[in-house]
């Protein structure tokens, strides 16, 4: 006796699969489809402006004039520009000092916020305020506080008898840099604090308890338990922060305009000054691109370090 299944009717419970479904069942196509929106967004907002910037930097383009190919002439010109060199130094100093302070204060704040206390949720939300307020608005408030004539900081210090003549916060080259650093640290600490707090909360309390039972003191627990486990998160946060600080614009633009006498001029403010103020788009793009190799180096070193930390 033989049985044939060929003529058996199709099972009515199985839905009919369309060509799209069949295509997406192939993992390669599914991966492409899922990645496509991200690729399009990155292409539009990251890759295209970057390529356009590179293209502009090797031409003599001005506003409304496409320009001719000039090779690396703009880079040579920028390299010989005294103000650009000042901007390079200022940007490195600004980034280095603010990063150290933001990390130290952010970590300290995160450790404090990781404890249990009354009003914890409110304090955690409140601490984010400097990060939430639009930079331009908060910087305007700082500008008022640093005002040479009407500074509230000077007024308080004067009333307390600490100073007898006013401090020229934004008029003195050194103090102007100190002032922009203070504002950047104020604005950046919440980002560090909240991100590090998230990192701290992933560390199991049992590890601390075990260390405490073994007789480890608070500092030893931090040094040998908390810090090693927090390090990968910290490095990623520092990486993001360095990139953002290196390209900072709003704060300096509002507070000092790069002055006095370029004492606070940064890459971004100078690029804007040249590209927009003078219409020399090619040179503005060149100044902006000059940041790229430095940042690339920072990113490579940090990513390699993160990988090393994670594999150990």
């Amino acid at each position: 006796m033989t049985f044939t299944y060929a003529a058996a009717p199709a099972y009515a419970g199985v839905p009919r699969r369309g060509p799209l479904t069949r295509l997406l069942e192939d993992e390669r196509w599914l991966a492409v489809t899922l990645l496509l929106p991200t690729v399009i967004l990155l292409g539009m907002f990251i890759a295209y402006p970057f390529v356009k910037g590179v293209e502009l930097s090797v031409t003599d383009a001005k506003v409304g004039v496409p320009g001719q190919f000039v090779g690396l002439q703009n880079f040579a010109q920028v390299w010989n520009d005294g103000i650009f060199r000042v901007a390079v130094w200022n940007t490195c100093l600004y980034t280095a000092v603010t990063t150290v302070f933001k990390l130290a204060l952010g970590l300290w704040l995160a450790l404090l916020l990781n404890n249990n206390f009354k009003g914890k949720a409110f304090t955690r939300a409140f601490i984010l305020l400097p990060f939430i307020i639009p930079t331009v608005l908060s910087t305007l408030a700082w500008k008022w506080m640093f005002d040479p004539t009407f500074s509230v900081i000077n007024w308080v210090l004067f009333q307390l008898g600490i100073i007898h003549s006013r401090i020229n916060w934004l008029g003195d080259p050194t103090l102007a840099m100190v002032s922009v650093i203070i504002v950047n640290v104020w604005r950046g600490v919440p980002f560090y604090a909240i991100s590090l707090l998230a990192g701290l909360q992933t560390i199991s309390p049992e590890l601390h308890e075990a260390a405490a039972i073994d007789g480890a003191r608070a500092w030893q627990r931090f040094r040998h338990v908390t810090w090693p486990l927090l390090l990968p998160v910290t490095l990623v946060i520092v990486l993001f922060s360095v990139i953002q600080t290196f390209a900072d614009f709003q704060l300096v633009y509002v507070l000092t305009g790069g002055g006095p006498a370029n004492a606070t001029q940064l890459f971004a403010t100078y690029a804007y000054q040249i590209g927009i103020g003078t219409g020399l788009l090619s040179q503005g793009a060149t100044i902006s691109l000059a940041v790229f190799p430095v940042l690339l180096l920072v990113v490579i070193v940090q990513l390699l370090y993160i990988r090393r930390v994670e594999t150990h």
Partner: protein
């Protein structure tokens, strides 16, 4: 919806069209009806937020409706901060879309020459009807014989000063120091009383060049020769001006000025912390608008103790840094004809006069006709502003106000030359630094 039959349509549209083709703007105005071709057209006009808010109010509440009635153009008037105009115009040009007409200041038209429409027909008509444009207005708005913008105003700064405080140190009857030496001596006495002179040496686009460029010129210094290429800053005159500036700053000025922006001196003067500052008429107008808010130490309204005078003279003469303003029609605009009609209309005597009156003396006209306007008879304290266009010079002197001069001013090279010396750099070295920077710019 209102019914319009064929006969009525022909009658209405015919009035505008015939008026436009035969009688020009006067006939359009007389007909009280928009020409047919412009009806329903909208025009995007971008301007700065004026230092005289009443003028912005007038544009919004009166000029926009009048424009719609007279030309049939729906005016989309946008006002933004002066500092943001260049970013907007750059984005508009690069993308080929944006406002049809931009309001620009100083020598900005020269930065966008390739992207602006030829408006020679409009300007020649207006110039002819209004006594001709000032030299400074022409210089920034032309390339060769072609007009790339329609001049709107000129203007600049004068020293706003406290009459009674200067009287206390010997300048009675509203007199003001005539030379830089006199000003330093006066400022020294005033600073000793806690009433210094106030001037910015910071990176700010208005007040910083408005003071330090004419200061340089008055000593005989200049950026370049008349060829517009040969840098001539490093001269005996410039070095002398820098040496004197260091003393002037320490002896007579509020040293916080190194960080001042364009509004800092207004605040300081209105608060009574400085005795004099180079500025437009905005300080005086603000004090006059709020007589109960801004008072002198004796309780009198501050505006009654305020006068205006030109900056002192030096061996090279006496100058004002002029800020011409211009309307430019963008090449990408699809409303070329309508925009030109609008520019003709808004610059006509009847319309411009309304705006000019609202300025109360803050601005000068771009043509000589406005020197005779009754606005100058209203308040004698503002009368000195009338003479600014004739004493004015533009950045880039003795060369033309082209792209290089714009770059020099944007980089604050002249301002920083003085700032560096005030901060301790040897005057000769600061002049050499500035000269070297200018050489790169003008190369």
């Amino acid at each position: 919806m209102a019914h319009i039959d064929r006969r009525r349509l022909l009658k209405v549209s015919g009035a505008g069209a015939v008026a436009a083709s035969t009688g020009g703007i006067a006939a359009i105005l007389a007909s009280g009806r928009a020409p047919a071709y412009a009806q329903g057209t909208s025009l995007h006009w971008l301007r700065w937020s004026d230092f005289v808010p009443a003028s912005d109010q007038l544009l919004k509440s009166k000029i926009v409706p009048q424009c719609e009635k007279a030309l049939g153009i729906k005016l989309n008037l946008e006002m933004i901060n002066a500092n943001d105009i260049q970013a907007r115009i750059t984005a508009a040009i690069q993308s080929g879309s944006g406002p049809d007409i931009f309001y620009v200041i100083g020598n900005w038209p020269q930065l966008y020459v390739e992207s602006l429409s030829d408006v020679s027909d409009v300007t020649e008509e207006i110039g002819k009807a209004q006594g001709g444009y000032y030299e400074v207005s022409t210089a920034v708005a032309t390339v060769g014989n072609k007009w790339i913008g329609v001049p709107w105003t000129t203007g600049g700064g004068l020293v706003t000063y406290r009459k009674s405080w200067f009287a206390e140190i010997g300048y009675s009857d509203g007199k003001f120091p005539q030379t830089w030496e006199e000003l330093r001596d006066a400022g020294k006495k005033l600073k000793a009383k806690g009433r210094p002179l106030g001037q910015t040496l910071g990176h700010t686009f208005g007040d910083a060049p408005s003071f330090w460029y004419p200061y340089l010129w008055s000593w005989g210094g200049k950026e370049v020769e008349s060829d517009g290429k040969t840098v001539a800053l490093n001269s005996k005159e410039t070095v002398e001006s820098v040496k004197f500036a260091v003393g002037l700053w320490k002896d007579a000025c509020d040293e916080g000025g190194l960080a001042w922006d364009d509004s800092s001196n207004n605040r300081a003067y209105l608060a009574g912390t400085i005795s004099a500052t180079n500025n437009g008429a905005s300080i005086y107008l603000e004090a006059k608008k709020k007589p109960d808010t801004y008072l002198t130490d004796t309780g009198a309204p501050l505006w009654q103790d305020t006068l205006h005078a030109p900056l002192p003279k030096g061996a090279g003469g006496q100058f004002v840094f002029v800020f011409p303003s211009t309307h430019v029609l963008m090449g990408y605009s699809k409303n070329q004809k309508v925009a030109k009609d609008f520019l003709r209309w808004v610059n006509s005597k009847e319309i411009f006069e309304q705006w000019f009156t609202s300025q109360q003396g803050y601005s000068d006209g771009a043509t000589k006709y406005w020197e005779e306007d009754p606005v100058w008879n209203v308040d004698p304290v503002l009368l000195p502003f009338r003479d600014i266009p004739n004493k004015g010079r533009l950045a880039g002197f003795a060369g033309p106000p082209g792209r290089a001069s714009a770059e020099a001013i944007t980089k604050y090279i002249i301002v920083d030359m003085y700032a560096k010396a005030v901060q301790g750099m040897v005057p000769e070295a600061s002049v050499k630094w500035a000269n070297d920077e200018l050489v790169k710019v003008y190369a």
